[in-house]
Amino acid sequence: MKNFYVKYKREILVFVATLILCVVFTVLNPQFLTWRNFLTIFQQMVLNGLLAVGIMFTILTGGIDLSIGCTFAIVGIAVATCTVGGMNPVMALVIGLIVGAVLGLFNGFLVTNLKLQPFIATLGTMSLYRGIAYVVTGGVPVTNVPDSFRNIFNGQIGNSGIRYYVIVMLVVFIVAHVILSKTRTGDYLYAVGGNEEAAKLSGVNTRKTKYIAYIASGVCTAVAGLVMLASLGSAEATAGIGYETNAIAAAAIGGTSMAGGRGTALGTFVGALLLAVLKVGMVVINVDSFWQYVVTGLIIIVASYFEYAKDDFAAFLARHKN
């Protein structure tokens, strides 16, 4: 237990902050504290959570993937077109994941083989992918996605209100956690982000590792695209504009260092959860829309300050123990 605390100080602090927010919202409107509302919060963290865990992989290597909002749109359009055309829903789902992986692979190619800075490379693909989405659809949304596909994600367990896509998100987070903390690939990802030269010298295949990060980002984004498609039943080229900023915010709040080398799946999960609590809570207590931007911004800044505060907190506890 103590080990867990030492290892996940940051995550625990953010979680505590989330709980404090919940208490505040409940005091302002007791309706906040209902089982159905918690289901709503979990449902609404899914898209951002999936995008955040994806982008976290690239941030861990010291990179970034700005193209996720556009990959999100392309996957939605591709899968919508397939399913509307009568393709087997599972087949379409696999195609969606492949599309995401390929778009991520291309980002990886730009970053490793062409040695472009990740920010610039994905800024380019951000526009490129969005353009492809417009060109392919001509701006016309793809609608009437059959229920056979939608139910894969949108169905619920019994009558509990727990939708499959929440489970899907949890599974993705668990897989990400296992990769990062239990496998050699995870170690390499941290090593590349911590000090690329040192990693290279100690025999890490840094190119392969970066490719893995961008492909992982593409695949996680693809899962988000599939969930969006199932949830809305239609796909359009304008979907996901600006979603990368919220994903970065979730990862950052959860303790992912923008310089790379530091961050956990658990932290990103808690970060996305905090943003979802904030989003739902402010609707529940009916905060004016303008103020929502202010509050969200302040929370990001304050949460990032935890980076320093956690050390103080540990020192504070240590002092009071003696």
Partner: protein, 376 residues
């Protein structure tokens, strides 16, 4: 060390304080619905008054505004066309169905008049500088009139001033407002909201909680549609109660999430008005998932909205018929070029579409009479 710890807590307290202030300034919460009604409508009145004051020019409130029928009545049906006139059009992104339909309307007008139209559109909805460049280029080419649908209220300001100086007739067609443009032609966005409120009131027997999904908080169309909706309720002493309003940035997923939260917060929610169809279609999904019985009304009349109305999803939309809007804009422009007096604002046709009239020919709904052009 201790100081930093303290600072963190102070910062946290500040954030919580902001949350607290925010909530107390907005007056509608579910548990005090009855007495907050009055406050809410008061606030609504204040807000809409403020919003109108903010604008230098508001075509929705222009005193000399006319409809195309009134204009034809005042100036005669025939429009004289000089075959030497050149018309320039600057639009927003053709990735949006609305602008594509507007373009079709211009093409129809071009065919009717025999004039060549130089139509320019940006690649995306945020290319403000690109639009400015297009406008400058067309002015330099020596067009006689410019029909402009700007992205924002300000991105074409200087380009329009230059065009005015060069003696080009400048007409603002829908969307962003250019105070310097000589005329405005477009749907009355305020009336979009009024039509929606009237329809919802009728369907609900004039009682029940309603909510509004706003587009981009500062966008003119979003502001006017919301104000029109709330003012209608106020002016008609309607029993409808505007229980909540939030913005969703014209984004379908955000609108869906917003509606999902509302639905589970307020089981008495009876209707949701959205500032556009895209958001309304997201809300429809939230209503369907919650298996709730809630009316959803959008604005724009995009193809997907029509389809959804036919399938029993969306309940209604307010269509501004861009295809006819472009033709009205062209007719007005040519009348002005021919020397006729044109009011500062011309309101283009709009109609509320629901399951009853979804398959009616729009030309019939708005009593459309094609313009009569006579070439000199």
């Amino acid at each position: 060390m201790k100081k930093r710890f303290l600072a963190t807590f102070l910062a946290a307290a500040m954030v919580l304080g902001v949350v607290g202030c925010g909530s107390s300034s907005s007056s509608t919460t579910s548990d005090s619905a009855s007495d907050s009604t009055e406050q809410a409508t008061d606030a609504a009145e204040e807000e809409s008054a403020e919003e109108v004051d903010e604008l230098e020019f508001n075509p929705d409130q222009a005193e000399d505004a006319m409809t195309i029928d009134e204009l034809r009545e005042a100036n005669g049906v025939e429009v004289t066309v000089n075959s030497d006139w050149e018309i320039g059009v600057v639009m927003k992104s053709l990735s949006n169905e609305f602008w594509r339909t507007l373009q079709e309307g211009y093409e129809q007008a071009s065919a009717d008049t025999g004039l060549a139209f130089n139509i320019q559109a940006t690649t995306d909805e945020s290319d403000e500088i690109g639009q400015q460049t297009m406008t400058e280029t067309l002015t330099n080419q020596g067009v006689d009139a410019l029909l402009l649908s700007p992205i924002s209220d300000s991105n074409l300001t200087s380009a329009v001033e230059n065009a005015n100086d060069a003696g080009v007739l400048t007409v603002n067609v829908n969307d962003g407002l250019i105070a310097q443009a000589q005329h405005y032609v477009g749907p009355n966005a305020y009336m979009n909201g009024q039509l929606a409120a009237e329809w919802i009131s009728e369907k609900l027997g004039d009682e029940g909680d309603v909510a509004i999904v706003i587009g981009m908080a500062k966008a003119f169309a979003a502001r006017e549609r919301t104000a029109g909706f709330k003012d209608w309720i106020e002016e008609n002493n309607s029993g409808l109660n505007v229980w909540a309003e939030q913005n969703a940035d014209w984004d379908r997923t955000k609108a869906k999430d917003l509606a999902a939260t509302w639905i589970q917060q307020n089981p008495d929610l009876k209707a949701i008005f959205c500032n556009n169809d895209d958001m309304a279609l997201g809300v429809v999904e939230a209503v369907r998932e919650a298996e709730a019985d809630i009316l959803v009304v959008g604005v724009d009349g995009i193809g997907e909205a029509y389809e959804s109305i036919r399938n029993g999803g969306l309940d209604a939309t307010v269509d501004s018929f861009p295809y006819y809007m472009a033709q009205v804009a062209t007719e007005c422009t040519l009348r002005a070029l021919g020397g006729q007096e044109l009011p500062s604002a011309v309101a283009t046709p709009q109609a509320l579409i629901d399951a009853d009239n979804v398959d009616t020919d729009p030309a019939e709904l708005i009593n459309w009479v094609a313009p009569t052009y006579v070439t000199e």
